[in-house]
Symmetry: C2
Subunit: 195 residues, 2 copies
DNA sequence: TCACACATGTAACACGTTACATGATTTG
DNA sequence: CAAATCATGTAACGTGTTACATGTGTGA
């Protein structure tokens, strides 16, 4: 029951179609949960079967019809119950960390590449989050927004994502620097290592 | 092929039994990948079948025998290949963010509890990582360690975990404060919101 | 003596990924 | 005219979680 609640959370802000959800759950956009469109279509079916969502077909001109889903009362209840229930710690699982953990000196170039890619990706996401943030704030200050807005969740999760990407950028930069220093030190003392 | 490489990475530093691995892959200890012991035993079987590991039984007095696994040459090759291969962005999936995203004012207490728990957990992990760090450094400075140590991966992933927990602590604290300010503002202006 | 650490596993199920399929409309 | 966007799905497979099972030795 994991994606389930993420979908309910997304729909708690308003109805959406599977396709629309698949946009905001995309790995390179998501700020609180990610999933493929295939997962979403499957989960939406189940949620409707279980009575937590209701879908209706919206006919469109010049593009395919879509099915738009909205929470039912049961769906809202389920969400409140989920929020109240104790959470377990989140698992760390990151390919980049595995690579770094296992790398020896012969892997240095590959690891540097991987770190560079991650760095770029984090910078892109940070820029995206900043744009989303400006959109949410709409000219108001953060303080004013937090006082006045009806729902502060989306803003606070966005800030979570923002801090996460900032930290990723700092870490990648530091690790790249450490690896370069090490590489320099190694070439300067050729053959004198490992004694 | 995800856990697979994490296990190979862990064993690249030296042989270990399933039980020993299950300790370091525990959610509340892991700094680069987490998994349950059940997953590990299953994966170790497969890795041995595929010739990437070799296991041998170590007989012990006063406790059950254990099977200790070590990388084969093929295992090392597989690791190098994995490190060289391009990585895809990591998915964000966090129950706490889902809760925050979905929360309305009636959920505030539950969300505060969840944030408090996460905060405590992060503080515990940070303290643990600091102890592990001291152990790795063994009195040397970070600079010296990065120059002299044979493998810097474990230290750098540990620093990744450390930064991650520090950032979590900062974020939780900021969110808790924002929620409290909001709660105060709400009770002061009863009934005047929403216009 | 009761709980916890050590040590390994099976079985069933839930969740996530990848590949494939279809077809209209808009943009370059 | 090709590519991207809109829109929904099926099938097969790989990964992760939960519950259960077993038995010894150590410390409170």
């Amino acid at each position: 029951m994991a994606l389930r609640h993420a979908v309910l959370a997304a729909l708690s802000l308003g109805e959406a179609s599977g396709y629309e959800l698949s946009k905001s759950f995309d790995v390179s956009v998501a700020n609180f949960w990610s999933a493929t469109s295939q997962q979403l279509y499957r989960e939406l079916e189940r949620l409707e079967e279980d009575g937590l969502l209701r879908g209706r077909v919206v006919e469109q001109q010049r593009r395919p019809n879509k099915r738009v889903f909205a929470l039912t009362a049961a769906g809202h209840e389920e969400l409140h119950a989920f929020i109240a229930q104790p959470a377990r710690p989140t698992a760390i699982r990151d390919d980049l960390l595995v690579k770094l953990q296992a790398a020896d000196d012969s892997d240095l170039d590959a690891v540097r590449d991987a770190l560079g890619e991650r760095l770029q990706h984090a910078q892109g996401k940070l820029a995206l989050y900043d744009r989303l943030r400006d959109g949410l704030l709409g000219g108001r200050s953060e303080d004013a927004y937090l006082r006045e807005a009806e729902r502060v969740g989306p803003y606070l999760t966005l800030m979570g994502g923002r801090i996460y990407e900032q930290q990723t950028i700092r870490w990648c930069t530091a690790v790249l620097e450490a690896l370069e220093q090490r590489a320099r030190a190694r070439t300067e003392s050729l053959g004198l290592t490992g004694d």
